[in-house]
């Protein structure tokens, strides 16, 4: 008797707890469901339709035809290749660069540390548009400082049209992307390195480990979770590289700098093929999900 009364009471309490929890969640859920979940579901659904813009056109169900077309679209395949190139080059470089910077600055005095952290974060805060327009000027064929400095140092014998040349355009974009993506990893590594138990490092030094060994054996394993997180966010960011492309080269010359994200934009808002663009979006999301899962798995095994 007593026990059943007790469970009845706890059930009432649990129900009340659930109700109050959902009331607290409600405002956020309205936005989350309305402007994230619904569009995500719509993205998947529309990818099976021939869908264009315009009020009098009706979406036509075409099954997986959009997905089939993707693998025959040479521009899409090229943009996929470019995207992977950007990811493969920029993700490891970003991680190594930011880890090195963090390892030099993390035990500096407070104001010096925050000055350095601030400067490496500047390109992120400045905003992609402002950063892009100034790089466009610096890379300019006639008025850019790259050609001026290159010639002054004797590295170039004539002006190079950096962004208009298929051989260089993508590398210029990767360089700019690097400067705008190391900010956050540096902040994360500085705090992770600061949290490594100093007694462990001291013990290793007493045992005769040099700096490099102390780093490799003690610090590296304990900042592994941070490295994993940085890998994932940098990968996602590199996959999404858009503003740089749109403002610098518009995918040109000759689609040599198209990324998937830019090609999605081009297909949807220049060609008005929403269904096809959504199919690309789904494929991109799957690639990112698989890659993140692989990174997690590899890091766990280590």
């Amino acid at each position: 008797m007593k026990a059943s009364a007790g469970t009845a009471r706890s059930r009432v309490l649990a129900r009340r707890e659930t109700r109050s929890a959902y009331l607290f969640l409600l405002p956020s859920l309205i936005f989350f469901v309305g402007f994230v979940i619904v569009p995500m579901v719509m993205c998947v659904i529309t990818s099976f339709f021939d869908s264009t813009m315009g009020k009098d056109t009706v979406d036509v169900f075409i099954g997986v035809q959009n997905y089939v077309e993707l693998w025959k679209d040479s521009i899409f395949l090229r943009s996929l290749k470019n995207t992977f190139l950007i990811v493969i080059v920029s993700v490891p470089l970003t991680c190594i660069f930011s880890l090195w910077v963090a390892s030099v600055i993390y035990n500096l005095r407070g104001p010096v540390l925050s000055t350095f952290r601030c400067i490496f974060y500047l390109p992120v805060v400045t905003g992609s548009v402002a950063v892009t327009v100034v790089w466009k000027w610096m890379f300019n064929n006639y008025y850019g400082i790259f050609n001026y400095v290159g010639k002054g140092l004797g590295l170039l014998d004539k002006n190079i049209n950096w962004l208009g040349d298929e051989r260089f355009a993508l590398w210029c974009i990767i360089l700019i992307l690097l400067t705008t993506s190391v900010g956050q990893p540096i902040v994360l590594y500085v705090s992770a390195l600061g949290n490594v138990d100093p007694s462990l490092v001291e013990a290793a030094e007493v045992d005769g480990a040099n700096n490099f060994q102390a780093f490799w054996k003690i610090k590296w394993p304990s900042i592994m979770p941070t490295t994993l997180y940085i890998l994932v966010i940098t990968t996602i960011n590199s996959f999404q590289c858009f503003a740089l492309i749109q403002l610098l080269t518009s995918g040109g010359p000759n689609h040599s700098t198209d990324t998937v994200m830019y090609y999605i934009y081009y297909t949807a808002f220049k060609m008005y093929r929403y269904g096809y663009a959504n199919a690309m979006g789904v494929v991109l999301a799957i690639f990112i999900a698989v890659l993140s899962a692989v990174q997690f798995k590899l890091a766990k095994e280590k």
């Binding site: 649990a14 659930t18 109050s20 929890a21 959902y22 607290f24 969640l25 405002p27 956020s28 936005f31 989350f32 469901v33 994230v36 979940i37 619904v38 569009p39 995500m40 719509m42 993205c43 910077v101 030099v104 925050s114 350095f116 952290r117 400067i119 490496f120 974060y121 500047l122 805060v125 400045t126 905003g127 992609s128 548009v129 402002a130 950063v131 327009v133 100034v134 790089w135 000027w137 300019n140 006639y142 008025y143 400082i145 001026y148 400067t179 902040v187 994360l188 705090s191 700096n211 994932v232 996959f239 999404q240 858009f242 994200m261 979006g281 991109l284 999301a285 990112i288 999900a289 993140s292």
Partner: protein, 309 residues
């Protein structure tokens, strides 16, 4: 020991020198934006760059401000485009005419502040519920949030555009604000901060007869204040700089944000670098000042968001 200190400092000195050079290179684009905005046309169009402007002029800003005009603010009757005779919104209050660039700044500030306030309120409530309450569907909801965070935000922009136009919000600043608030990073961050609230504290408040709302405002909010600060500055900066969403949702001149405005300047006068740099200065300086002022909170937000990320 002695030699150990020396060896370390030798490496440290070389590393610091390289670091200072790198820092200069990282700060250079910003330096180039600001100095470029004040250079003369002749100096910008010379093939030999001026590392430091010999003459500082305001010509570029004058040109920027005299290009297009727009009312300082416009308040439209919500959804009035449905029943007005022209199909346009009915405007019941419009400000004095100012240079369009100023209006773009006003739009950007409004957008960033609205996104910040709404995100902080909704995320603080939801993060608290997720961290401190046991309820049905909690695990499912939390994994949904984490999965959504890992997906590329920009992929959903196309369906979002259609949704906004069916809600008659296309080409209004709300089309940019609402999806920013929906992005679950804030909820995740506030959950991390709310985990740290001691359970006894809320228990004792409840024994004292405080209701749910009172517990939240008097106990929870003061405890998660640093988290709210971090989220506020994070949302403000991200929404200020979220170019892709703004590009897709906003089109008419008076509705643009400052980022879109500069992109438009660049599209229309691609080689007038002085003018473009004046626009870029206008966009970058306010946000950099805000960032430096609140750097402490910002750093905290980034690190907390990553824990168990």
């Amino acid at each position: 020991m002695e030699s150990g200190v020396k060896r370390m400092s030798a490496y440290k000195i070389i590393a610091l020198v390289i670091l200072v050079i790198l820092a200069i290179l990282f700060a250079f684009p910003l330096y180039w934006i600001v100095t470029g905005a004040f250079k003369t046309q002749a100096s910008i169009n010379s093939t030999t760059p001026e590392w430091f402007p010999s003459v500082w002029v305001l010509d570029n800003f004058r040109k920027l401000f005299s290009r297009q005009m727009a009312p300082l603010w416009e308040f439209a009757v919500p959804f009035s485009s449905h029943f007005s005779s022209t199909g346009e919104d009915i405007i019941f209050s419009a400000g004095p005419m100012v240079p369009a660039a100023i209006r773009w700044l006003v739009n950007t500030v409004f957008m960033a502040v609205a996104a910040m306030v709404l995100t902080c309120i909704t995320a603080a409530m939801a993060g608290y519920a997720l961290a401190k309450k046991r309820f049905k569907g909690r695990a499912l909801l939390f994994s949904l949030i984490v999965c959504a965070m890992a997906l590329p935000k920009q992929v959903i922009l196309i369906p979002l555009l259609r949704e906004m136009s069916s809600l008659s919000l296309y080409n209004t600043i709300w089309a940019v604000i609402l999806p920013t608030v929906g992005w679950p990073f804030g909820v995740f961050l506030m959950k991390q901060f709310s985990e740290g609230i001691p359970g006894e504290l809320m228990e004792s408040a409840r024994i004292d007869g405080a209701g749910e709302i009172k517990t939240f405002t008097n106990i929870v909010i003061p405890m998660v204040k640093p988290g709210i600060g971090a989220l506020a500055i994070f949302t403000f900066i991200n929404s200020w700089n979220d170019y892709f969403m703004q590009l897709i949702m906003l089109s008419s001149t008076s509705k643009l944000t400052i980022s879109l405005g500069i992109a438009k300047l660049q599209a229309e006068n691609s080689t007038d670098f002085g003018l473009i740099m004046a626009g870029a200065t206008l966009a970058a300086i306010p946000i950099i000042v805000i960032f430096i002022a609140f750097q402490k909170y910002f750093t905290q937000g980034i690190t907390m968001g990553a824990v168990k990320g």
